[in-house]
Symmetry: C2
Subunit: 338 residues, 2 copies
DNA sequence: ATGAAAGCGCTAACAA
DNA sequence: TTGTTAGCGCTTTCAT
């Protein structure tokens, strides 16, 4: 393993010049830069991250913190962020909070504190005041995807607008009996996966002169299974059957489609179904959805973080940036029966 | 941010003693240890990873390399490995190869070489000779999940046995017209997701005196969509219809179930379907499968790596360890019609 | 069992 | 533009 000294010798310059040439910090003549890069290439030289970090205080490493890894949304954000970070020359340290409470504490008290990262991106996390304090104690920039977190810049989806848009799509098709499957309360305590998409749904209905009916509201846990069971309940009673279901996630909406089929209902002839997310399976199921690209959110978070990381720059980045979304109409929604 | 010096002062000992007390390396009196741990706790002291790494050569960090993140299997392995590593006090650096070829090269030539990791775990990766050489150049222990990789200890699933078991289950139920959906060749060039599960399938058939029929074999890309389309082909011709399909992955098998339903076939009355994996959705779909726990594989890989990381130890770990699997019979398989 | 001190491999003042 | 040099915060001999 070649060291900076080896490169300096081979290039006939000092280690300082090598450092400057390779890092791009500080002035180096074109001639010197050439000699250095050649020598470095010949020796397969790569700077030691620990030596560099210790001397400079920069690690070229960013933390990515997620509540779970086995949910499509989180994984996609991580993938988007990870690829963007790599392009910037940053490594990724993954902090997964899906373990026990004690492990979660350890993440904040130990893992996060050992000066391994230049900044951190949190995904859909709700943090306790202590945890927020530990985060700020790092004195490193942080960006949240799906917020808000106190004192942390966050990318947030306008849940009200998104669910209004979804409900509006169904209203425009002529539906009046529109059911909604949202997240259950206790689920919302843990993550920033919003139960409050219900607001936009109800607001849109009222604006259309329709009073939301409690029997048209159900909750589930954002999984296909959860959506399936909730939909069975909603659709089971033929006298009280909605003509459309708007689910707070595509996975739940897919569960609805499967439930409708099992009940002998044809989608969208008998029942229109739509979701939110733009899940990888939504196209296969012909699901109408409001898509938000989690990959793009991960990339966007990285761009914000990179700006925050440039020393001189006082980035005029607002506390919260909106996340793009788009209505994608497929074959799971149509005019109501008759 | 407290430094080791602060702790030493507060505890009234030297920095060497603090280091020894906190790391557990070297002799420390009980009294000294107590003073040190108290002082460290009072000051919220956590060792700086870069300083520690530079001095000791150990990073307390392990690399996790995956071909993709957005596939259930990989994510699950990562989650299992990550949690096990955390318990051992190790951080995780995630290397995702799903980007461009140039980015992939950069991972091996730059990211991997900057001395950030003590060891590495690769998941389902097929590496080029150059890449293997880069891996060995690290001079750090490596463990593969889903192998083999030259000179790397690997956990491997006995694909022959697994597919024999699956086919055997269908044969035992009385099926003789058993189709198989495997991975396509080009897919196999990239990852260690085996096309060769076909062998065990054919061997089991022959052993039962049945000659495999080429029209009962199809390939797909391990996704639900892929399985769906392949199954439509296999089931479309009523004269040539198998009574059972064995798919090389649960996701493809789920696609088969959906295809069967769309064709008006009842599972398992008209057609039995089974997969391999133990996917999180398999229970919901009542899918019979041969499950292999990817979480456990991740954990297992970590245990092997931890052994490899202990200096004195010459671990008698064989080149390849088998992966556990288990037949789980649910409601998607039964006796054939009549 | 403990402390003094020499690095680990790099970066960043500072001087030239 | 370049080189010299003093750290960065730890770990680990080597004495004691």
């Amino acid at each position: 393993m070649a060291s900076i000294e080896d490169v300096a010798q081979r290039a006939g310059v000092s280690t300082a010049t090598v450092s400057r040439a390779l890092s791009g910090n500080g002035p180096v003549s074109a001639a010197a830069r050439l000699k250095v890069t050649e020598a470095a290439a010949a020796l397969d030289y790569v700077v030691s991250s620990s030596a560099s970090s210790l001397a400079s205080g920069r690690t070229k490493n960013v933390g990515l913190m997620v509540p779970y890894l086995t949910r499509w949304f989180f994984t996609s954000v991580v993938e988007g962020a990870q690829q963007a970070l790599m392009r910037h020359g940053y490594d990724v340290t993954l902090y997964n909070l899906s373990g026990s409470v004690a492990e979660r504490e350890k993440v904040f008290d130990v893992f996060l504190q050992r000066k391994r990262i230049d900044g951190i991106i949190t995904v859909s996390l709700k943090l306790s005041p202590t945890e927020v304090q530990r985060l700020h104690a790092l004195d490193r920039p942080a960006v949240g995807v799906g917020g808000p977190i106190d004192g942390v810049r966050t990318l947030t989806l306008d849940d009200d607008a998104v669910s209004s848009l979804a409900t509006g799509h169904l209203l425009a098709l002529g539906h009046t009996k529109i059911a909604h499957i949202g997240g259950s309360e206790d689920y919302d305590l843990e993550f920033h996966i919003p139960t409050n998409r219900r607001h936009g749904y109800e607001a849109a209905l009222r604006e259309a002169g329709i009073e939301p009916r409690p029997e048209f509201f159900a909750t589930a846990d954002f999984t296909i299974q959860g959506g399936y069971h909730a939909a069975k309940q909603l659709l089971g009673n033929p006298l009280l059957r909605p003509t459309a279901i708007f689910a707070s996630s595509d996975e739940m909406a897919i569960g609805c489609i499967l439930a409708a089929r099992d009940l002998g209902l044809v989608v969208p002839r008998d029942i229109s179904i739509m979701g939110i997310d733009g899940h990888e399976l939504s196209e296969f199921f012909g699901l109408t959805t409001v898509s938000q690209s989690p990959q793009a959110q991960g990339e966007h978070a990285v761009e914000i973080l990179m700006n925050l990381l440039v020393p001189g720059k006082h980035p005029e980045i607002p506390e919260n940036s909106p996340i793009d979304y788009e209505l994608i109409v497929r074959s799971s929604t149509s005019r109501p029966p008759e």
